[in-house]
Amino acid sequence: MTPATSQLDRTALLQLVETLTAQVSALEAEKLDLQKNFDAALEKAVAQQMLKQRALAIEQTYEAVHNGPLQSLAVLLRADRVPALEDDLRSQLASINQELRGIYQSMRLSAQDEALYLESGLTLDFDLPLVVLLQQVFEHTLARDFPGYETLQFQVMPDFSALANTQLSVELKRGVCLFLQEALCNVGKHALGTTRLSVLCEQRAGSYWLQIIDNGQTPGMIESLLQSLTESPEVDHQERHQGSRQAKALAQQLCGKFQRRPNADQGTICELVWPINPPGGCQEDSELELID
């Protein structure tokens, strides 16, 4: 071997070593990354497992409370022929009954972030089917003190069962509930003299239809002007505008349409329509027609 070739070999070797070192450190960095990802995934899995266990523990607590003390209390409370059960004791037992239910409710709701707290104290549990949630929103909202509800002497119960098979995400369920609440509040706040309020929910022509129809007075220009002198129109207008914007955004997410328009005789129709099988890439197509 000549000195020249040995020199060449040496250079090649050095280069090789250099490349290998670089590759090794790249691999090490990759390994570190992988380790990090693995740790993160593990952490997430453990957290999920813990959440699952927590939810399970809560369910088991509910069942234990439900099948044990609540049943015994029921037996005691209904025994009206037992003289020993004085009124005082009865009311104490009744309050224990309430307390036990309260514990479960609060445990269950604190375990999930998806609860929605509606105004004036209703908490919606988004684990429940949409049909149930909308029913709760309807009843709860109609029980509120609004001028538009004062003239309502009856209500017709809505039938939301057309929505029984919808598969909406928690976010969209929340959106539809808020839409109904907003529409009903609008009737309560603005549609004075309403005697008939209909909430219609159906499947028609490949779409879901949710309509809130009232026969109240839609404030005309003079009334609006008079109202604006006595109330705080800025806030109110902003509120309504915000409501419409939310409804619009919801309609877009559902690939559907939102519309608020005058009723044939008197009043307003507020309407959300969305396809049962939404087409792909529909986000931009939603046509909107708004009054305000």
């Binding site: 069942e63 439900h66 037996v75 209904r78 239910r101 029913q135 009843e139 119960m157 069962s161």
Partner: protein, 229 residues
């Protein structure tokens, strides 16, 4: 074979479903006291209830929502809810037999999902908290036996009607149809129409007055509050 659940000439048959012996021991004697002629059967789980129902459909069912599927399994409200839903939708007992149903539970909230179905159901229905005194329980069960509907409501609520009852009012008072023609038009049984009338009467808080014509009273009240124009 009897025509339907509330037109029996022979003894009425009641089925009480609860997995708690202590509850059965309270409910069954109270029912016997109020309905001495009735034949009372009991079941403690879903499968047992189903077997008895298939053997001979009952006239009245008193159901706890929280029952096990079969004895020994865990009791959950889903099981009782499934049973009630199958009854209301005619899956277990085919029409024209629609038993009156009373739900007795420590938590009747899960029923809210079936509210629209309940109000349109052919048979009577009552839901109540299990801790109610037995006397009150019997009162509400009487509601169901009568063909009416009783669901606990919040204090402030106004009368709430089902859209089918509205259709009945319209066909009777706007178009002048009789019950037979209305049943045909609405595609339902005569008994359903009779029970809808009872439900409208109860919802509008119209009492029985031998000197007054019930239908005319319903019409007056319905026009007064704007149910019909």
């Amino acid at each position: 074979m009897r025509e339907s659940a509330d037109e029996s000439s022979s003894a009425q048959r009641f089925l009480v479903i609860d997995d708690h012996e202590a509850v059965l021991q309270g409910t069954v004697p109270a029912l016997k006291g109020a309905y001495p002629e009735a034949e009372i059967w009991t079941a403690q789980d879903y499968q047992g209830a189903r077997q008895l129902i298939e053997q001979q459909p009952p006239d009245l069912m008193v159901v706890d929502l929280s029952i096990p599927d079969v004895a020994g399994q865990k009791a959950t409200p889903d099981v009782g809810l499934k049973l009630v839903e199958q009854i209301l939708t005619g899956q277990l007992i085919p029409s024209p037999w629609a038993p009156n149903v009373a739900v007795l539970s420590t938590d009747i909230n899960p029923l809210i999902r079936l509210k629209a179905t309940i109000k349109a159901y052919e048979g009577g229905f009552a839901a109540m908290d299990k801790s109610l005194p037995l006397q009150e329980m019997i009162q509400y069960i009487n509601f169901a036996v009568r063909g009416s509907v009783y669901l606990p409501q919040s204090v402030k609520s106004r009368p709430e009607l089902h859209s089918k009852w509205m259709e009945l009012l319209r066909l009777r008072f706007d178009e002048g149809l009789n019950d037979k023609a209305i049943a045909k038009r609405m595609g339902t049984s005569d008994r359903t129409i009779r029970n809808y009338w009872i439900r409208i009467q109860d919802t509008l808080l119209i009492g029985d007055d031998p000197e007054k014509d019930l239908r005319v009273q319903i019409e007056i009240e319905a026009r007064r509050i704007g149910l019909i124009n």
